[in-house]
Each structure stands twice: as structure tokens, then as C-alpha cells.
Amino acid sequence: MSTTKGSAGQKTFRQLEHELDEILVRVEGASYEDLDDLLKDHSDGMTIINQLEDKLKKAKNSIIKAKK
């Protein structure tokens, strides 16, 4: 996985998407032995989704501002 960071030191949208894809592949495979592993992946996935949604919201606001 790329280690490139965004300008503010945070992960880029693309990097977060990549990490989420990896989690989804594991979750859909349902090959967990430990419930905690499943719950951790779920929690990490939701965190990434929140970050992605936040980035999308900010981008949307930028577009609205730019259109004015």
C-alpha cells in the first residue's frame, strides 16, 4: 500500500479507499477465527468510511463556494 500522505499529513482519499477495499475483501470472505478480529475490521472500516465522507463533504462545500 502506498504511504503517500496528503498535504495536511493525512491519508489521501485514494489511500483510504484502498485500505477500505482490503477490509471489505476480508469481511466478505468471512474467514475469521476470532470475533475480535471481525469487530476490529468493522470498526476500522467504519472509521475510514467516516473519513471518506468527511472528505467528500469538504469537497462539496469547496465546489459550492467556487460556484458563487
Partner: protein, 382 residues
């Protein structure tokens, strides 16, 4: 009485050469120069240098002698000319008038002489339009050849001052008609050409008879105008016949006032033109800016639209991922009646093969947990 007797009575006696010398001295004292108007006859040029001709009227004829440098231009038999000459008796060739200057007189003859000269100079290319040079507009410094007492001079200066300002004018006061005119004009042209610090030489005079204006078609004047290193403007106040000097000049004006009009723009016209150009430029610029604003606004909308599409697709993808993740959470399945089975060591149990009879296991449901003991195993459940 005999001839000897006459000598005795005080009549002077000479040998021939002595008589010629005395007669020349007498002529020089009594009549050094004379002006004669008559018809030119037997005109010829020998060795491209010596001029021989007769000047005559109905009753008499006199011999003329001179050089081509005395000529105003081509002449021909039948022309009426005014000759200024020095009478002299040559020891071998008898009496003749040595030409000092000669010029055609009478409108028809002046025109005829000008036509002959025009044809000659035209053939040499002096009037070729390709020789005309551009004159700075407006010129900052001008050399003006004119008679300062003339109305032409006053008109030129007046119109120039009305139209423009800050022009440096240097005047060469010259006769512009009569005997001294040719020399004055040629000297004036040479003077400004030697200085080379003027943008244009203006040669001007007001209107007049063909005789008055004849100097502007004299060969030497025309050649000097043509050869001028400084661009020239010749303005002679007449409209019918154009003088040869005008044809040879870089710019021709019909009158002294017209010369000033051609050389100098009108300040007020210039201001008005600048105002109009500013108005046109302002309009052009405003329209251009408006066009650019519209173009940029469209680009802004287009760009925003494209980015919004990408964002929408990304949002959809994220939402899809969220649904998958939510579906994968154990509680989602438990709410539908599924249970989570864990061995005593906490490992998830997904196969009967992981269990044995009497194993203690736990079963997690949507709202709680139960502890169980395995009593029977059936591996063939379909």
C-alpha cells in the same frame, strides 16, 4: 584731304589687336553687362560644353556664346529668351555676347522650356515615385527656404503655429524670383543638407506669373531638390502647372498654407481622434472583458459539474462499502435469528468438526448470551 591728313588731325591709329583691346575696354567701361530680350536662333551645344546661338528680332541679330552651366535647362530655337550678357569682341571670332544668364520669357516659352527639361529629367528618373521618402509627421525641426518678407512665409508660419507647437524652424531667407533666386535657393538647399539636423526642408513661395515661378523649373534647382539628402517639401502657390522642383520633391503642396497643413497635424483634430480612439478601445476592452467573464463563468460551472459527478460517484461507492460493512457485523445477522457460537477458548465455531460431545460452548444472540453443553453431534446436516 588724305587719310594721312586725318591722322595728323588727332584721329587715333591702332593695329588690329590693339583696336580690339581698346574696343573691349571701352565696352567694359561703358556697358559691362546688358539685358536683351529676343528670339533664340541657331542654338547648338558643342562638345557637350560650349553653347553657341543667335538672339534676334525682325531687324537685327547678335551672336551669343556661353557654357552649358549658364543654361536654365534645355532650350530650343524659336523661344523668346532674356539674356544677361557681357558684350565682347573676340580677336578671331568678332563680336559676341558672353552669356551670364539666359532664361525663357513669356508663358508659352517658359512652359516649352520646362517641358523639355521635364522630359530630360524624367528620363533620368528624378521624378520616379519610388524615390519619394517619408517625412516625419510631424517633423520636430524644419529648414524653411522662403522670402521672410513674403505672405507665403507668413502664411506657412501662421498655419503651422495654429496646428502644432514646439516646432524648431530655421529660416533661410532667399529670393524666390528674379536673378538671385536660383543661387539663393540652391545655397539654401546646400546649407540645410550640410547641417543634416533638420527633418525636412520646405521650399515655398506664393503664387505668381509663369515668369515669377520660372526658377522652380530651372535645372539646377530641380537637381538640387532631387539630390537633397534631407527630405524635401516644395510648395508653390499655384494650381495649374506643377513646377519641376515640386515633381522632384518628396512632398508637394499646392500652397504654403497647404504645406503646413500636410506637414503638421491639427492639435484639435488629434485630440478628437485620441478621444475617439480611447472610446473605441474602452468599448472593445469592455466587450472583451464581458466575453471573458462569461467564458470563465461557464468554465467554472462546467468544472464544478464535472467535480460534482466524480464526488457523487465516490459518495455512492462509499455508501455501498458502508452497507457491506454493516451487513457483515454479527449483530445484523443475530437480529435475523442467527447466533454466534464460540468454543470455551473463545474461538468462533463455524463447523461441527470443531466440537465434541460434552464440550462447553457459548451462544450469543441479539440480546444476550447462553452457556450450553454439546450432547449430540450430527455432521450430515444438509
Amino acid at each position: 584731304m588724305t587719310s594721312d591728313d586725318n591722322l595728323d588731325f588727332g584721329v587715333p591709329a591702332f593695329d588690329v589687336v590693339g583696336a580690339v583691346a581698346v574696343l573691349n575696354q571701352t565696352l567694359e567701361y561703358a556697358l559691362p553687362n546688358m539685358r536683351i530680350v529676343g528670339e533664340l536662333a541657331s542654338f547648338k551645344i558643342a562638345k557637350n560644353q560650349w553653347v553657341y546661338a543667335d538672339i534676334k528680332d525682325d531687324y537685327a541679330k547678335l551672336r551669343l556664346f556661353g557654357t552649358i552651366y549658364n543654361l536654365p535647362g534645355p532650350l530650343e530655337d524659336g523661344m523668346t529668351v532674356e539674356v544677361v550678357a557681357r558684350p565682347q569682341i573676340h580677336p578671331q571670332y568678332n563680336f559676341s555676347l558672353n552669356i551670364i544668364s539666359i532664361r525663357p520669357v513669356g508663358e508659352g516659352h517658359i512652359k516649352k522650356a520646362a517641358d523639355l527639361l521635364k522630359a530630360k529629367l524624367d528620363k533620368e528618373g528624378l521624378f520616379d515615385p519610388s524615390r519619394k521618402r517619408l517625412i516625419p509627421h510631424p517633423p520636430a525641426r524644419i529648414g524653411l527656404i522662403a522670402s521672410v518678407q513674403s505672405a507665403a512665409y507668413a502664411d506657412f508660419i501662421k498655419i503651422m503655429d495654429e496646428r502644432w507647437s514646439g516646432v524648431n524652424v530655421e529660416v533661410y531667407d532667399a529670393h524666390v524670383q528674379g536673378e538671385k533666386a536660383e543661387d539663393d535657393i540652391v545655397r539654401g538647399l546646400k546649407y540645410f543638407n550640410e547641417r543634416l539636423d533638420v527633418d525636412v526642408v520646405v521650399l515655398t513661395r506664393g503664387g505668381g506669373s509663369a515668369d515669377d515661378l520660372a526658377v522652380f523649373s530651372v535645372e539646377q534647382v530641380v537637381r538640387e531638390v532631387s539630390a537633397s539628402r534631407v527630405p524635401t517639401c516644395v510648395a508653390v502657390g499655384h494650381e495649374v502647372d506643377t513646377s519641376l522642383a515640386e515633381l522632384a520633391a518628396d512632398m508637394r503642396a499646392s500652397t504654403p498654407s497647404n504645406a503646413a497643413e500636410l506637414l503638421f497635424p491639427d492639435k484639435e483634430d488629434m485630440r478628437e481622434r485620441i478621444r475617439q480612439n480611447k472610446f473605441i478601445l474602452d468599448n472593445l476592452l469592455t466587450r472583451r472583458l464581458e466575453g471573458e467573464e462569461i467564458r470563465i463563468a461557464r468554465a467554472r460551472t462546467d468544472l464544478a459539474g464535472m467535480v460534482e459527478e466524480v464526488l457523487a460517484r465516490s459518495k455512492e461507492s462509499v455508501e455501498q462499502s458502508k452497507k457491506i460493512l454493516e451487513m457483515a457485523h454479527p449483530k445484523t445477522a443475530m437480529k435475523r435469528g442467527f447466533v454466534l457460537v464460540q468454543a470455551a477458548n473463545g474461538k468462533l465455531v463455524s463447523s461441527v468438526g470443531q466440537l465434541q460431545v460434552d464440550d462447553n460452548i457459548s451462544m450469543t444472540l441479539a440480546d444476550g448470551k447462553a452457556e450450553l453443553t454439546v450432547t449430540k453431534l450430527d455432521k450430515d446436516l444438509k
